[in-house]
């Protein structure tokens, strides 16, 4: 059976005494983890009467509780709904309301944010707290501790089927409201297999999970494949560059995956180098492209460590791999599809375009999700004939089979009928040494329909020269790509993974236009 419960039954059978999970407070063998998962599964059925197909939310930082909940809920055929710990109260309310969760497990560190909206979530019936929240709420630890481990799930024959939904994983909502991607047991097992093939995880690997487990990448491209190969997981509850360097050294960590911002923060520390951290063999970039300068700076410190990149979406996790060797020749590429994943570039008419021509990236494979929760129209629109999934991302393929990501399709600017991705304009503006960061989006124009507007973060206030940006673009870009508007901003809105929040930029831009 291609299901999540099978992951643990196999892990417990093959290496029961091996340390599987390490946190700041404890380390647990695979057998002990399996015992706790069974106990929690039993409690979910006995105490809450969770039935197959029901949604259970988990709002917790990286910790053993998250891992136990993930596997316990899916073991009994429930649907686990990870909630990003960095969301604000109102965003948490939106997700819990949208998912229709009747049950949620909340960590004490996040209790305040949850408590703000608890009373406006009528569908939510049962809440359990991890730690002391000072309220009359059931205790997670009481549930999990104890010796009796009746295999209630097994006794009730609740084992899920591979096509049953296992996860409700919400998109980051960079261009609209987050949508709950429904991922089956088979989907997440396939995504995990993609990660194993791409990253070459080994039985003797020790992975530090720095990214939040509520994120697709941390779950299915880090935690799950590491359990499948019997490696060791070091959970990092809160990112601190110095602490992470110390834990890599102390735990002999061999690999970790992080967003570009994390790598940049680590590079501030001279100890982040191969001599000080000889156990490291693999670094994996995630969520956004790493700039070539940072890439080569990391390589200079870790010449023998593989630094790889990968492209994926919440709806189809871990699709491509860009190896070190590929990055040397094509640093701007997202790499090649992982075996088992199919990708193509398609035009608006649904036809595959030639190499070098921009179009929408399509993906096909067993890791592709089943659609969006409670959104039948969006789910239907997600898929094209032949089982292809529309990623909503623009890009192209070159003659060597490498793919390139240009930006979100929704971000494409249509200036007088001429369409282009903002990334081309952003790259042009980045050539200016005084520019630290830039984001470009389309804004309404009464004649042209849309024109480009650039939001620029300058390196220092003294170097702000908006006209210089326009002049530079006019010199190097065709007229329809030259920004009509340039605005200096202190910071660009991004989500916790460093992805630009275009909806917030658009909202700001909309307000600015209304004020005009």
């Amino acid at each position: 059976m291609n299901t999540l419960p099978m992951v643990w039954s196999e892990a417990e059978r093959l290496w029961p005494e091996k340390i599987g999970l390490v946190t700041e407070r404890e380390q647990l063998t695979y057998a002990e983890l399996a015992r706790r998962i069974r106990r929690l599964s039993g409690q979910l059925i006995r105490q809450w009467e969770v039935r197959p197909g029901e949604v259970v939310g988990i709002l917790a930082p990286n910790g053993v509780e998250f891992v136990l909940t993930y596997f316990a809920v899916t073991t009994i055929g429930g649907i686990v709904h990870p909630i990003d710990e960095r969301l604000k109260s109102e965003e948490i309310r939106f997700l819990l309301e949208d998912s229709g969760a009747r049950f949620v497990i909340v960590h004490q560190a996040l209790w305040g944010k949850f408590a703000n909206v608890w009373n406006v979530l009528p569908a939510l019936e049962r809440v359990i707290a991890v730690g002391d929240v000072g309220a009359n709420v059931e205790s997670f630890h009481t549930w999990v501790q104890g010796s009796a481990v009746p295999d209630i799930a097994g006794a009730l024959e609740l084992s899920p089927a591979s096509d049953d939904i296992a996860e409700l994983m919400y998109t980051s909502g960079t261009i609209g409201n987050p949508k709950g991607a429904m991922r089956s047991h088979a989907n997440v097992r396939a995504a995990s297999r993609n990660a194993r093939r791409a990253f070459g995880y080994r039985h003797d690997d020790v992975i530090a999970i720095v990214m939040p487990l509520s994120h697709s990448s941390a779950l299915v491209s880090q935690m799950l494949p590491m359990v499948e190969v019997g490696g060791r997981i070091v959970l990092v509850e809160r990112f601190d560059a110095a602490d992470l360097v110390a834990r890599i050294r102390g735990q002999a960590v061999t690999c970790f995956r992080a967003v570009p911002a994390t790598f940049k923060m680590l590079m501030v520390y001279p100890e982040f180098n191969a001599d000080h951290l000889p156990s490291l063999r693999l670094l994996m970039n995630s969520s956004a492209a790493i700039d070539p300068k940072t890439h080569w700076e990391i390589k200079a410190r870790f010449p023998d460590v593989d630094l790889v990149n990968s492209y994926g979406l919440t709806e189809a996790s871990t699709c491509t791999i860009l190896t070190d060797a590929m990055a040397r020749e094509h640093p701007d590429s997202i790499g090649v599809p992982i075996p088992g994943v199919e990708m193509s570039v398609v035009d608006d008419a649904g036809c595959v375009v030639d190499d070098g021509i921009e179009g929408e990236l399509f993906v096909r494979g067993p890791h592709v999700c089943h659609g969006y929760h409670n959104l039948p129209n969006e789910s239907e629109a997600l898929f094209a004939p032949g089982g292809w999934m529309r990623t909503g991302d623009m890009g192209q393929k070159d003659s060597e089979g490498l793919f390139y990501f240009h930006g979100r399709k929704a971000d494409v600017i249509n200036c007088g009928g001429r369409k282009y991705a903002p990334v081309e304009v952003e790259n042009c503006i980045r050539e200016l040494t005084e520019v630290a960061e830039v984001a470009v989006l389309g804004v309404p124009h009464r004649v042209l329909g849309q024109v480009a507007k650039a939001f620029v973060v300058f390196r220092d206030r003294a170097s702000v020269d908006l006209k210089a940006v326009t002049r530079h673009c006019t010199r190097y870009l065709p007229s329809h790509k030259v920004p009509f508007y340039v605005e200096s901003v202190d910071v660009l809105p991004k989500n916790s993974l460093g992805k630009m929040l275009h909806r917030e930029l658009k909202a700001e831009s909309h307000v600015a236009f209304q004020k005009k």
Binding site: T474, S479, V482
Partner: protein, 86 residues
């Protein structure tokens, strides 16, 4: 060549990012491919900002030479700064 004329040529040169001979008598839009319809709209936007007025659509569309732009500055009594502000 008047000072205003020279500044208008400089202004066009900066907005369109092309080298324009300073001794040109009258720069015609149709003679410069860089002065296309989209750059024309951007040019109008720059002019409106400097003049502090909103040009009528017809007036904007008819504006097709450096001499016409020069006349526009004269009409509104606005002097272009030394280094064209665009």
């Amino acid at each position: 060549m008047s000072n205003t004329h020279a500044r208008v040529i400089e202004f066009l040169s900066v907005v369109l990012q092309v080298d324009i001979p300073t001794d040109i008598d009258d720069l015609q839009r149709r003679e410069f491919s860089e002065w296309d319809s989209i750059n024309h709209l951007r040019l109008i936007m720059e002019l409106e900002e400097i003049l502090g007025v909103t040009l009528e659509d017809e007036q904007a569309a008819d504006l097709s030479s450096s001499r016409q732009i020069e006349a526009l500055f004269t009409k509104h009594g606005v002097t272009l700064p030394d280094e064209a502000s665009a």
